[in-house]
Structure formats: C-alpha cells, structure tokens
Amino acid sequence: MPESKALLQAIQAVDVPPVTLMEVCGTHTMAIAKAGLKPLLAPKVTLLSGPGCPVCVTPARDIDACLTLSARPDVILTSYGDMLRVPGSARGDSLLKRRALGADVRMVYSPMDAVEVARENPCKKIVFLGVGFETTAPGTAIAVQTAKESGVKNFYLLPMLKRLEPALRALAASADFAVDGLLCPGHVASILGENGFQYVARSLRLPAVIAGFETEDVLLAVYRLLLQIREGAPALENAYPRAVQREGNTLAMATVETVFTPCDSLWRGMGMIPQSGLALKEDYAAFDAIKALDVCFEEEKPSACRCGDVIRGALPPEKCPLFGVCTPEDPIGPCMVSGEGACAARYKYGGSV
C-alpha cells in the first residue's frame, strides 16, 4: 500500500525525541514483525511487546499441571494449538510430546469443539485448557453454558483466562517500566469498548491509541501516539473504529459476567496479580476442572528462560542468552513457541532494533 510509505514519512516528521511504545497484543507483535516495521521506525520509535500473548503469560506451573492431567487415563485434554508445544518446567516436555507417548490430547479451534468432544466421549472427562484474554473469555463462557444447558456433565474447564487491565496497571507501576505510549489491542477493545481503555490515559497518564491490525492501522496509531507525546496530553483515541465501539460488545461482556467472576491470577514473570484472572461462578462450579479433578499447582520454579522479562517489555528477545539455542523447533519458553510470541516473531522475521 502506498499509504504505508507516506505514513512512515509522516511519523519521521513529527518533532519528538526518540520514544518507546508498547504493543499489548500478540497479533500486533506478529503484524509488526511480518511487515518489518521495527527497523523502519528506528531510531525514532522503539516498539516493545507487552504481556499480550495468552500462552506466554501462562506460568510454567500451569503448564505442568496440564502435563500431569494429560497422564490420567480417564482424561482427554483439548486445547488451542499454541498450548500444545509450550514446554513445562522440564525442557522438552510438552503436551505434544505427551501425545506422542500416548496421552489423549486434541487440538481444537473453538471451545465449542471441546464440548463436542465431550458429547462424543461420554465415558471420558474432557478438559478444555481455557487460556486467553477478554477476547476469548466470552466464547469460553458460551461453551460452559452450553455444556450446562444441554446436560453435558463430562466437560470441564481449566480456567486460565486473564484480564488485561490489572496486569497493565501492575506493569505501569513497576520500577523499570519505561514506556511512553500504549498501542491498545484492537480486538480486546472490540469487547471492552473505548470505555474499557480510558484508564490508560486517565489513570496511568499514558498516551493510548486503539489500533487495528493492517500495517496502515499500526502506523496510524504510532503517528497519533507521537502527536499526543508531542503535545504532552495523554488521551485515549480509537484508530480502529470499524471494529471498536465506545461501549464495546455488551452482549459478550454480559455473558462473561454471567459465568465468571474476577479472581487473583499468577502471571509468568509478573507474579500474582489481584483480580487479573477469571474463575467460574458458583452456578457453574461443577464444570471447574480444578475442583472436579483435583488439579494441583506446584510452586513456580526458577527457569533460565527470560520470557517473564520479555513480556514485561524489560528485555528484547535477542538479548536473552538462550535466544538462538532456543528456537521455534526446540523452544525453551512460550515466547518462542507461540505464533504471537515476541521471541518467535523476532526469530522468524529478524529485524532487531
């Protein structure tokens, strides 16, 4: 698109000192890497990836719990593809590996597929590994409701869903947070609306622009962030109005509220963050895999993988001492596994700054 080139020129022409911006969405990370934007924006704009890749923010102890579950002969694990290749705290041990050794682990595209697997296998316990952010929570809620309404009693959710706001607040309050503006995730904003991101400007005092996923969308958002920084007036702007309304998707939010309630949740590299997860409400407690199957979480073990720093934007992936030893084919941490991970994006498309 000819607009990209001109947008890049417009960005370079804004009179501001070099800035650091953070994108908080794995899909943005990939879009930016694919279009090779980082080297084109440097040195004026440095783009950092934040905690926006669902698999990457899942702590190793949760992966370990999934691995333990997969060994149970009465269980079928169902999961989005990305989760299958993430190693637990032991190197090379992943759900994919367990599957090769005989565990019944199935990849699904939607949580509804997991309910279907439960219907087809009435003698087994079907556990759906529910990772994701506000975009994924509504569909996960419908799956649980469907299981309840249609009497599917062998479907269980392992709730690992995350809420972005508490994590961003925790991140912005941390000592090493040095970000001048936030590229807000367009699809989370489709659900939460502009209203759901006002706090970034009002309370965190950070320039914030909701961005879409075309190259031009990202560049326009960067440009608007630069203008805000130049004016010294943080505000929330919506640069993705074709998919984001002011009040968000109220149907989706209401569904989430019916099924889930906020709870404290452990994040990789960020520790326990109050109210940053979603637990099943009492009415749906029978579908909670943690309770029904006695899932036990060990303590998070220290690891040489620096994903925890990468998702906080504190370490560029290529500065991890393991980068290169750790590859998408033989990943050590989730950031190298996921299609939305910062390490994988850097490895695959290069373009380090």
């Binding site: 569909g139 659900i191 074709r242």
Partner: protein, 73 residues
Amino acid sequence: MCLAIPLKLISVDGAQAVGEAAGLTRAVRVDFIKEPKVGDYVIVHAGFAIERLRKTEAEASLKAWREVADAGE
C-alpha cells in the same frame, strides 16, 4: 487465535453461522452479534464472531490513512 481476515457470513441459523473468506468456509458462532445477517463481515476469534465490521468506519479508516499520508508528502 484471531483470524487476520474478516469473514463474510454466508448463512445464519440462530447462533450458528457459516463465514467465508477467500473461498474457504468456516463455522462461526454469532452469539455476540446483534441480529446477524447474511452478508455481514465479522471478526472471528476462536470460533466466535466478536464484532461486526462497520462499513462507513472502514471507509473512514482508509480516509484517515490517506489524510496523514497526504499531509506527510
């Protein structure tokens, strides 16, 4: 988990719909779309449509890109 391209709904039956893009079809749940209709473009995330694309705003985005682009030249 998000499909990069929006899908066009080619059939709607309650909360179940079929979306199409580049000749490929896919089952889509439309629980969160008010009055989904054949011909709507939707953004799909893990099998669920999370929002309908609004045409006038899509044109506005294009215009916004061009405006900045033109100003920069």
